[in-house]
């Protein structure tokens, strides 16, 4: 991408006015790391939104609000009971990029290797969009597929992301496979389990990187709901349910290897989630 000019608004309304007047050539930049992946010959005017007041993590009773401009390293450093986004932040590229990349940027432009869309789909929280058309959207609606994502976020500025606090009887786990420590993800898997009366009340599984857009595995989830909270149930998972998905293996992986990797990681994250829900870790 070629930046032919830039503006640095300090108010949200100002940023929207710039975007409106610039039309197609406008390009929001917060950390700016995703700009690297935009078509090299595209000429854009950068709207540097990094000075807008959209920072910080606020703890609420049952949830956390994360300002869209909060950097990944600030998320990584946040330690509080029930806050689990830091687990994914620790595996995010490298320190130099964690220090400038923002969570808003990571979810506003979704690449297939993106980390946080996988996590947020699994946690199923909310996103607040700023501006005149301010609205609160469910993450499951926004990240349903690339079309719903584009329609929901498009050229809007995200104000914050709200994720539920992990409570007792709940567990979450996240796995990211890379070929080198700071490489792009080859397969990202996240899972969430909630128990009630020693049975699985709710379970969510999301896979990224091996698909063009992160996907929840609803059929697989449904097959586990109501099952006893016992590790042996994961040996009975019907992985044939994955056959209907179109895998997109990367980094030289064969389709067979890619599917095997995903199956293994699904089991791993489910075991870890159940351990946490049972209070074993």
């Amino acid at each position: 991408m070629k930046i032919k000019d830039f503006v640095i608004p300090t108010k949200i309304s100002e940023a929207y006015e710039f975007a409106h007047s610039l039309g197609q050539s406008a390009y929001y930049i917060a950390g700016g790391t995703s700009a690297y992946f935009v078509q090299a010959n595209a000429e854009k005017v950068a709207i540097d939104i990094s000075k807008l007041p959209l920072f910080g993590i606020t703890a609420k009773r049952d949830s956390f609000r994360i300002g869209a401009l909060t950097t990944i390293s600030d998320i990584m450093k946040k330690e509080e009971d029930g806050f689990i986004l830091n687990r994914a932040a620790k595996k995010f590229v490298n320190q130099q990029i964690r220090n400038i990349s923002t969570i808003g940027g990571n979810i506003a432009r979704v690449f297939y290797w993106s980390d946080f869309p996988v996590v947020l789909k699994t946690l199923d929280g909310k996103i607040k969009i700023t501006g005149f058309d301010s609205k609160i959207l469910k993450i499951s609606d926004v990240f349903h597929n690339s079309t719903t994502h584009k329609e929901a976020i498009g050229n809007a500025i995200i104000e914050y992301i709200e994720i539920p606090r992990l409570l007792k009887n709940m567990g979450f786990s996240y796995s990211k496979e890379t070929r080198i420590s700071s490489g792009f993800s080859s397969a990202t898997v996240a899972s969430f389990i909630e128990l009630k009366d020693n049975k699985i009340k709710d379970v969510r599984i999301t896979i990224g990187s091996v698909f063009i857009f992160p996907m929840r595995l609803f059929e697989l989830e449904n097959s586990l709901k109501g099952e006893p909270a016992d590790f042996s149930i994961f040996n009975k998972i019907n992985f044939n349910l994955l056959d209907k998905y179109k895998f997109n293996p990367r980094d030289g992986m064969s389709l067979e290897y890619c599917k095997h990797l995903v199956k293994t990681r699904i089991k791993d994250v489910l075991v870890e989630s159940l351990k946490e829900a049972l209070g074993e870790k």
């Binding site: 590229v93 320190q95 130099q96 490489g183």
Partner: protein, 165 residues
């Protein structure tokens, strides 16, 4: 292309720069003579171009120069322990690198020093895991990493000793 003016504090001194909108911070710094900031992969993966912005290590190859407007930037040229006999004196991190032989060709060294400086400024006694996290964006193709990590662990131990006394 329109040239624009920005200003930021560079190694403690407030300065104004005329830049092209598309110019990266790395390009600007080298253009004005700060050659300790190295070209590497140009995609934020190798750490050779690491500088400190507002206390945090960042990849200057990914950042547009205008994103530094109003910020505080420190390069390897700005972290010496003083000046004597026409030379910059090594700081405590550089001293440990020398003692541990933690460099060979030296190309990655400024980047490692800057990542380590940001880490020690924030946490003078980092544990092994913290050292690995804070330097996970720096690549060394000569020495490997053991000697570099040893140097940083030694300094952490020294800081711990100092605090005990």
């Amino acid at each position: 292309m329109v040239k624009k003016k920005i200003s930021f504090r560079l190694n403690g001194e407030l300065r104004e720069f005329e830049i092209e909108p598309n110019e990266k911070l790395l390009e600007l710094l080298r253009r004005i003579g700060y050659k300790g900031v190295k070209y590497g992969c140009l995609e934020g993966m190798c750490g050779s171009c690491t500088v400190i912005m507002n206390g945090k290590a960042i990849a200057s190859c990914l950042l547009y120069a205008f994103q530094a407007d109003g910020k505080e930037i420190t390069t390897i040229e700005g972290v010496s322990a003083g000046f004597a006999d026409g030379c910059n004196l090594p700081n405590e991190i550089q001293d440990e690198f020398i003692k541990e032989h933690a460099l060979q060709c030296g190309y990655c060294t400024p980047g490692f020093i800057m990542s380590a400086k940001a880490m020690f400024d924030e946490n003078p006694i980092p544990d092994d895991e913290t050292i690995k996290i804070y330097t996970d964006g720096n690549r060394c193709r000569c020495t490997g990493y053991e000697k570099i990590w040893s140097a940083l662990k030694n300094l952490s131990e020294k800081h711990k000793e100092k605090l005990r006394r």
